[in-house]
């Protein structure tokens, strides 16, 4: 009982001391030595309150408790150094519930840690919703099922092209999600800004898409008469074209829904692929392999260019998108100039 009362009394005293010294500190009436003494008194009171019982610590508050514990351990470890004065604000802040206190107690450690872009990419991968991965897996399963039903070479090649368009339509909106969900302004002001976010998502989505198309290219030929390399090539052309077209339109269209653009281009690409298979079936035959290879190379170069320009635009700020006719790139680098 005595400990209960003592603990509660010390907690109240600690809080009162902290408030008084905080006000005095703000008013600048404490000298550095007086401040150090004040800190010691406050920490002692809080420590005792915490060691007594939960009632005492509740009075300090859950926020203050963590700060006080941390501050107390820091004081014991750094008593001989001037660090005590630096962490004094943390103890004030912690016990008064100030964010700055907690930020300061860990800011030296959090800010000094410098995560790599690789770890940032890994985090972006975790941030992508699970439904995207589920959709990709379902898509592969569907393609395998369709190809197993109709193993004719021309049909399988058409399915490969359609697969490329669908995979692009699923992935590109993820890259543009910052604009879609109005997070671009917040992200632009961060250390890893919109450009970094878009680049990380391109890496993640691009890698997964390569795996999906690669897996399909490896498995489908075992079920049909198709060739793996040809399957991959038929998938790449619409994939590159839909991605590049989505980036190009999204970069120039202010307020345009990235998802709508991507889906629309994807549907158009699927429609063209199916139409070609119905009207000009020889397009998917051996005679046109060379043309498809050239188309894949051209579409690949186009995609690389549009992806690069999309990243440059993302780095220019929230109003850089949609500046049709007013925004000129220096193709030598990412230097952009307003025209």
């Amino acid at each position: 009982m005595r400990r209960l009362v003592s603990g509660r009394r010390n907690a109240v005293r600690a809080e009162k001391l902290l408030r008084e010294h905080y006000v005095a500190e703000r008013a600048g009436v404490l000298s550095p030595s007086e401040r150090a003494v004040a800190i010691a008194e406050c920490v002692d009171a809080v420590e005792y309150a915490l060691t007594c019982n939960d009632v005492g610590s509740e009075a300090v508050g859950s926020v203050g408790r963590a700060g006080a514990e941390r501050a107390a351990s820091e004081r014991h470890a750094n008593e001989a150094t001037g660090y005590e004065l630096e962490s004094s604000r943390g103890r004030y802040g912690g016990s008064l519930g100030s964010a700055s206190g907690f930020s300061r107690t860990c800011s030296a450690k959090t800010r000094s840690a410098s995560p790599s872009f690789f770890s940032f990419v890994a985090f972006q991968a975790r941030a992508i919703p699970a439904r995207i991965w589920i959709a990709q897996a379902a898509l592969i399963a569907f393609v395998l099922w369709v190809c197993a039903l109709e193993p004719a070479e021309g049909f399988v090649n058409c399915v490969a092209a359609a697969l490329g368009a669908i995979v692009a339509g699923l992935g590109v909106p993820i890259v543009m999600a910052s604009r879609l969900y109005r997070m671009a302004e917040l992200e632009s002001a961060c250390r890893f800004n919109c450009r970094s976010v878009a680049a990380a998502r391109m890496v993640v989505i691009g890698s997964v898409d390569v795996l999906v198309l690669g897996a399909a290219a490896c498995i489908v030929p075992s079920l049909t008469n198709a060739y793996a390399l040809a399957f991959a090539m038929y998938a790449c052309v619409p994939y590159f074209a839909v991605c590049a077209g989505s980036f190009a339109v999204s970069r120039r269209a202010r307020g345009f829904s990235a998802m709508a653009v991507s889906v629309m281009l994807s549907l158009v690409a699927i429609g063209v692929c199916v139409l070609l298979q119905r009207v000009f079936p020889w397009v998917y035959g051996p005679a046109a392999v060379g043309a498809w290879a050239i188309a894949a190379a051209v579409a690949g170069v186009w995609l690389a260019r549009e992806a690069h320009m999309f990243l440059c635009t993302a780095a220019e700020g929230i109003d850089a998108f949609g500046c049709l006719g007013r925004f000129a790139y220096n193709e030598k680098g990412c230097d952009v100039s307003w025209s």
Binding site: Y22, R26, S62, V63, A66, R89, Y92, G93, L96, G97, S98, A99, S100, G101, F102, S103, R104, C106, S107, K109, T110, R111, A113, S114, P115, S119, F120, F123, A127, P129, A177, Y181, R182, M183, E185, L186, E187, S188, A189, C190, R191, F192, N193, V197, E316, G317, I318, D319, A320, W338
Partner: protein, 322 residues
């Protein structure tokens, strides 16, 4: 630490949103006051590097923030006027995501995120989806993410929008304790948000600073222009139409105490009172119908006089004819 804004301008087509604004900011709290369309948000976006200026520069300790790049943004905290969220995120997910963007170590991020959520009163909703949050909860989440990386420069655009009075007081205390060695710039329409905590007020109008200084100093500029008068309740409406009225209090005896911002005495018996920051705001941003009280008064008098003279001439002519 010093943030220097040097002749900063931003133009959208033919509209100049920010017009050659200059300021030198040292650690402390700066309140940015201005009406809608004054250029506050545009200025704040340029300070955060979210928008490129048309001309001018922003320097942190003498170095251009564009050149500093991510080194500057690592020391920056920003709360936009309006921001979205990814639909699958909970409050904790959102904080961890922002922590990753700010380059905070993953192990520390969770601790800091939970503590900040608790601090802004969202500790119990850490696992709830952001899409289920009210406007005030979302705003508090935004405040929490802004201070997550213990920024040296904190820019808050309308931070108290949607907060109830208790939360606004909590926010003010948070900013007060936070700003000891930091530059905090916050824009607001709610004058009381900055009146007690701001070290300096920047009044912005039509893209430029029209007043700059400590709250007491700039409030003194409207000394002698704030009046209180007790008038019949029916006259209070008439006064409101002719002058900029900051407050009307109707008493039970049919009288009304009216607080007026005006260059000239608005009614006989009106006494000058000490101005507040809100009075200053109303004086600077009074609308077209009260642009110059004397001018309006004079033009109204002139019209009445012309009417009187016209009527008088008509009576005189009739008398002569008789």
């Amino acid at each position: 630490m010093e943030l220097t804004i040097d002749r900063l301008s931003r133009q959208f087509g033919s509209h100049i949103a920010v017009d050659r604004v200059s300021a030198r900011l040292t650690p402390g709290v700066y309140g940015l006051l201005g009406a809608n369309g004054a250029g506050k948000t545009t200025l704040m976006r340029m300070v955060c590097g979210v928008l490129r200026p048309t001309s001018g520069s922003i320097l942190l300790d003498g170095r251009d923030i564009q050149a500093l790049g991510d080194h500057y943004r690592a020391r920056l905290g920003y709360l936009p006027q309006d921001f979205g969220y990814y639909p699958d995120f909970s409050a904790l997910d959102f904080m961890l995501y922002m922590a990753a963007l700010k380059g905070i170590d993953r192990k520390r991020a969770k601790t800091a995120a939970l503590e900040l959520l608790d601090l802004v009163g969202l500790g119990g909703a850490a696992r709830s989806k952001v899409r289920t949050f009210s406007g005030g909860m979302k705003q508090r989440l935004g405040i929490a993410q802004a201070v997550l990386n213990d920024p040296d420069v904190l820019v808050l655009d309308e931070p108290t929008a949607g907060l109830d009075p208790k939360e606004r007081v909590r926010f003010r205390n948070l900013i007060s304790s936070f700003s000891q060695d930091k530059i905090v710039v916050l824009s607001t329409h709610i004058v009381s948000d900055v009146e007690y905590i701001a070290d300096e007020i920047l009044v912005m109008r039509a893209g430029a600073f029209v007043m700059q200084g400590a709250p007491g100093a700039i409030t003194a500029q409207v000394e002698g222009r704030v009046w209180e008068c007790s008038v019949p309740a029916a006259m209070a409406d008439a006064l409101a139409e002719r002058f900029t009225v900051s407050n009307v209090h109707y008493a039970s005896d049919g009288q009304a105490v009216v607080r007026v911002v005006s260059d000239a005495q608005p009614a006989p018996g009106a006494r000058a009172v000490a101005p507040t920051l809100e009075d200053l705001y109303l004086y600077v941003f009074r609308d077209a119908k009260g642009i110059t009280d004397e001018g309006d008064h004079a033009s109204r008098n002139a019209a009445e006089l012309r009417g009187f003279v016209g009527r008088a001439r008509g009576v005189g002519r009739g008398g002569e004819e008789r």
